[in-house]
Every structure is written in structure tokens, then in C-alpha cells.
Amino acid sequence: MTNRIDTRFSDLRAAGRPGLITFVTAGDPDPTLTVDVLHALVRHGADLLELGMPFSDPMADGPVIQQANERAIAKHVGLAHVLDSVRAFRVHDQATPIVLMGYLNPIERFGFERFVTEAAAAGADGMLLVDCPIEESGNYEATLKALDLKQIFLLAPTTPPERRRRIAAKASGFLYYVSFKGITGAGHLEQGSAVAALDELRGLSQVPIAVGFGIRDAQGAATLGAHAEAIVIGSALVERLAGAGDASAVDAAVASFLPRIRDALHAVRRV
């Protein structure tokens, strides 16, 4: 069976538009709502889902996602909940790819091999290990490959050309370009330089490139989306979900935000 990430990106390519990737933290705003959140995101325009695995020390994340992690951990959300959520989501959605995103320590504590085996069986399609650069991922690559879980690597503005090539050589699923030097959700995205950087990445890899960090609205999504295969919305979404107390509030929060971004991306003709 083809990996859902590959299928989704080839569909997007056929449609000639950039994809919309959404990031939320598992268990936030409440563990009873995780699956509702995922379905609402798909309903309102997400093409691919990133599900954050809570960690007490998320060093690459800004305050919004830090607080989402803290709320989830306060409600004892761990990897078992992540797996349960993926399984439950798959009952009604076989098509939308899910990438699990997080830090190594909780996964290693659970047991790396055990976790990724269960994640693949539950219906996850890729893993993004934030604090695991290519130098340290050697032990995991074969395991993930055997399970057909795509390992999503980050590229940053600081990544030098030679290193970009080494990362691209290992890439599968998609490459995630971090749009600026900083943490998730920060407010200093300069669209011009991000666009220039994305154009430089063309031809680096056969694998699609998604861009994220700091995209907050339809205009930003459209501007960067014209130069990438997908854009990622995280903090701006997590912020809006924070107060939702039930499934209908979740749906309303997503409905009031995501469709504008979806529509902007649907209007983009990739240049």
C-alpha cells in the first residue's frame, strides 16, 4: 500500500495547488476532544495532519505550543492517548495522512520500536522527531523505513548548502522548511526572505517541501504557498482551539479560521 503522505502530495500536484498542513497538540484543549479536533480540521480544509506529542520541555516551541503541552500533560496525556487518537480517527478517515511530531524522550521512554510499530498499526504515516537531526537518527531510520513510516526532516535558514543536500538525500514524505530563525509561532516571519529561500530549495529533492513556523493568516499562507508544496499552520490554530470546551466549540473555532486559509491556498497557482 502506498503511504498516505505520498498519495496526498501526488493528488495536490495533480490539482496544482499547495497543501494545507495543520499542527495541533494531542490532548489539547482536552483529551476527550482530540479526535473531534482532527476531524474538524479535515472538514474545514486540512490536507495533512500533524499531531504533537506532549513533552514537558519543548525547546523548539514558542509560548502557545508550550502552553498546549502543559495543558495536555496536566491532563496526563501521554503516548497511549496519541495512539488511541490515531486509531479512533482512522475509523472514519482512511485518507488523510497523519504525521506524529514530538521530542525523543517520551518516545524512548515508551520504547522507540514499540511506539513506532504501534503508531504504524494505528494508522500514522510519518514521524517528525524535532530534536533528532540526521546525525542522531541513524538508529531509527531502518525501523521507520521497515514500517513505511516517513521520517520528516527539518531544513532551516541556517542549514548550509552541503548539509541541505545530505538531509535531502535522507528525506521521505516531505521536507519541512523552517521559515525563520526562531521558535514556533514567533512574530518575525519575513515573507520575502522565506520566499527567496524556498525558491533556492527547488530542485534540491524529489520530495515535496512544506514550509512552516510563523504563518498566521490567509495572506501569509498564500504568499508562501505559491513557493512550496504545502504550508503548515500551528500556533495560530492552537491559540484558537485553547478555549473550546466541547466538539461543537471545536468545530466553530476551526470553522472561523481554517477555511479562509484553505480558500487562499486553493486560489494559489503554484509558480
Binding site: D57, P133, A156, G182
Partner: protein
């Protein structure tokens, strides 16, 4: 002293660690997000260049002598040794350094490196404030901007050090995330670095963090053991039988251990904060009670819950209150070269008083953990043996804490 009789077959050359990517066996490494990988490589390259640059090393040597006040002496605690009735107790007097602790050995080196690398802004994390003060001190001297991240909880506990940093011109930023303590300050400093990486130098205060920090901070602190080894040979015509140091992140300990690692006859003891006792769950003994994992850019022993979330630690001494430990200590533990033991809050306090009353030295509460274990160890050994304890800092900063614990209002 089980560690001293290693067979020839399993002899390890400790000078060969870490490898080029910062691994000490399975520990260490660079577990950071991609944005920091190139800056870390740049730092590692700069460090590898300057550590063998004669001009850099000469400037470092001058600063150590004239600004830090090195070499620090080895002091024979005659009264204390007599009272204990066992081995001779010696102190390496790192409390006599400028700013009152070993921390400046590291910041004086990293400061010179920051300057060479053309960085104009220094950031640092601090728990008790000692590394923050040592960073602010060096930044002031070199004319660099200094921002210190400190947990909001620690800021309340360590008002004097916060004021010292401000007097030295540093900006102290309260960290409100997570448990609002040292580990969160480290996260926040990493977040600042990732944002301002072009002109900012991150001055990590212990032998943790991603490569090259565990190696670089060790090397800058290794002057302690290098001096101590030579002083032992010059003044006692022998090496110590045991070396003892407290371990939080582990920089003073690695500093004194490093040059003794290849000396098989020297037993090595790292003393962790057992807080209210390991079994109470309220401690900071990562090596004795933790499990291997990944935090703050390196693989090491950590105190975490069953979900892998890092949990709050406890120690009477803020400088040992850290849920991880330098990766080289994790390696030395597994390989059996160093023994890691625990000392409780109460034992450390008793040792603090004992040293004050027998030798007229107020040691830091952190160092008092090493003193407490050193006393125990000395008591078990004959009089012709020598136990060398790293007195990593002075205790003036702790007098308020001690008064409060003992119900005395100042």
C-alpha cells in the same frame, strides 16, 4: 574503592572522549532542532581552533592568573581530619576564585571565545544564580551585552544573586514556563539562541547541552584537576587516593576528575543531591535514580516520569537542583570508572557546619555534599590515605537559606 582495579584488557583512554560528534559511549551527542545544528558546528569548529591556538591559550592563562586568581591552593584540613580519625582530608579551594566558585573557570574561557567569534551578546541560563553571576562578570569585563534566563521560582529564592547580576549590567529575564526553574531557563535560553543566533553566544554553565558544550565546559574546568594533580605531586609526592566532588550538571566534578581518570589508583566519587532521601522521591540524583533519555540536546540520565516527562527535582542546594546530568558522568557511571553516591539535605547541612567550625571555611551547600561524602569516606580509610574534595564554591550565598532552614531570623 572498587573502581581502581580495572584490568588491563578493559583499559579505556579517557582522553579519547568524546568522539568528533560529542558522544561519550551512548551518551552526549547533539539532539537539537535543525536550526541550531549549523551554529553548533560553527562553535565546535571555533573551539577546536582556539583550544590549540597559542595566543588564545596565553590570554586564557593570563586571565586565569590575574582575574580569576588561579592557581587555587590545596588545603589540608588538619583539625577536621583529626576529628574524623581516618584519611587526611584535603580541599581544592575553588571557593577562592573571583565570584566565589568554579563557574568562572568556564565563563572566562567561553567569554574569550565569544569575543574571538565576533559575538556581541551573551546569553546564559542560571539556577541558583552562580553561573549567571559568572557570565555577567565576564560580559561586563569584555564589554558584551548579557541576558540571563532564570526561572521565576528561582528568582524569588535567590534575590541577592539577581541583584548581583543587575549590578554587573546584565538583564535577568524571569522564565514563566514549565516548572519555572533551571531546566526551563535552559529551554528559554535555547529559544533565544535559535532566534538571535547570528550575533549571540550561548554560554552554557555546565557540562550538559549539545556538543560541543559538554567537552568545552569540561576542558575549561579541567584546569582544576590539572592543578590539583600537580599540587599533590609537588606537596605530597603522591596522587590522592580518592577525589570527591558534588554533581548537579557536573561541571566542577568533571573539572577535577578529568586529569585523574587515567590514574587507576585514584578512586573517583561524584556526589549527587539525595534531597530528602532517594526513596522519598524528592531528590536530584539523576545518576543514582534516573534513567537514560534525551534532554537539552544530549543523551544522559534523567529524572522523568513513566511518560518521559521531566519532573521537578529537589535539593537544599539550588545548584544541584537539575533533572539531568552531564553525559560524560553517565558514561563514567556505566563504565564503572566513577562511583556516584547520594548525600541528603541534612547530611550536607551537617557537613557545612562541621567544616565551618573545624576549619573556618563556609563552603557552598553544593560543595557541602562533597564534604559530607568525603568525611564518610575518610572515616573508612587509614590515616596515611588522602581524600581530595573539590570545594567548588563558598557558602556566603547560602547563609539566608541556612538561617531559614534552622528557623533563625537575620
Amino acid at each position: 574503592m572498587q573502581a581502581q582495579n580495572k584490568g588491563v584488557a578493559d583499559r579505556v583512554d579517557y582522553a579519547a572522549y568524546p568522539d568528533a560528534r560529542g558522544h561519550f559511549g551512548p551518551y552526549g551527542g547533539s539532539f537539537v532542532a535543525e536550526t541550531l545544528m549549523a551554529p553548533l558546528a560553527e562553535l565546535a569548529a571555533a573551539y577546536e581552533h582556539y583550544r590549540v591556538d597559542p595566543e588564545f591559550m596565553a590570554e586564557l592563562a593570563r586571565d586565569r592568573k590575574h582575574y580569576v586568581g588561579r592557581p587555587t591552593p590545596i588545603y589540608h584540613c588538619e583539625r577536621l581530619s583529626r576529628e574524623v580519625g581516618g584519611a587526611q582530608i584535603l580541599l581544592k579551594r575553588e571557593d577562592l576564585n573571583h565570584t566565589g566558585a568554579h563557574k568562572i573557570n568556564n565563563t572566562v574561557g567561553q567569554g574569550l571565545l565569544a569575543k574571538r567569534m565576533g559575538k556581541r551578546r551573551i546569553i546564559a541560563e542560571t539556577g541558583a544564580g552562580q553561573h549567571g553571576v559568572a557570565s555577567a562578570t565576564i560580559a561586563a569585563r569584555l564589554g558584551l551585552e548579557c541576558v540571563v534566563y532564570m526561572g521565576a521560582v528561582d528568582i524569588e529564592r535567590q534575590a541577592i544573586n539577581v541583584f548581583r547580576m543587575k549590578l554587573l549590567g546584565a538583564t535577568v529575564v524571569p522564565v514563566q514556563s514549565g516548572s519555572k526553574t533551571l531546566k526551563d531557563a535552559l529551554n528559554e535560553a535555547l529559544r533565544d539562541w535559535v532566534t538571535n543566533v547570528d550575533h549571540t553566544f550561548y554560554m552554557i554553565g555546565t557540562v550538559a547541552g549539545p556538543h560541543p558544550y559538554p567537552k568545552m565546559v569540561r576542558d575549561f574546568n579541567a584546569i582544576v584537576g590539572m592543578e590539583a594533580r600537580q599540587q599533590m605531586l609537588d606537596e605530597y609526592a603522591k596522587l590522592p587516593d580518592a577525589v570527591v566532588a558534588c554533581v548537579g550538571g557536573g561541571s566542577n566534578a568533571i573539572g577535577i576528575f578529568h586529569h585523574f581518570l587515567n590514574d587507576d589508583g585514584v578512586a573517583i566519587y561524584g556526589v549527587e543531591a539525595a534531597g530528602e532521601g532517594i526513596e522519598s522521591g524528592r531528590h536530584a540524583a539523576s545518576l543514582s535514580a534516573g534513567v537514560p533519555g534525551v534532554l537539552h540536546g544530549n543523551r544522559t540520565y534523567l529524572i522523568a516520569d513513566a511518560d518521559g516527562q521531566i519532573i521537578e527535582t529537589h535539593s537544599v542546594s539550588a545548584g544541584l537542583d537539575y533533572p539531568g546530568v552531564g553525559p560524560e558522568h553517565a558514561f563514567l557511571k556505566d563504565i564503572g570508572r566513577a562511583n556516584y553516591v547520594g548525600i541528603t539535605d541534612d547530611e550536607a547541612l551537617a557537613a557545612f557546619h562541621k567544616l565551618a567550625l573545624t576549619e573556618g571555611i563556609l563552603g557552598a551547600l553544593e560543595s557541602s555534599h562533597a564534604v559530607a561524602y568525603g568525611i564518610k569516606l575518610a572515616a573508612s580509610l587509614p590515616k596515611d590515605r588522602h581524600v581530595l574534595i573539590n570545594l567548588s564554591g563558598r557558602g556566603d550565598k547560602d547563609v539566608n537559606t541556612i538561617a531559614r532552614l534552622e528557623g533563625i531570623s537575620l
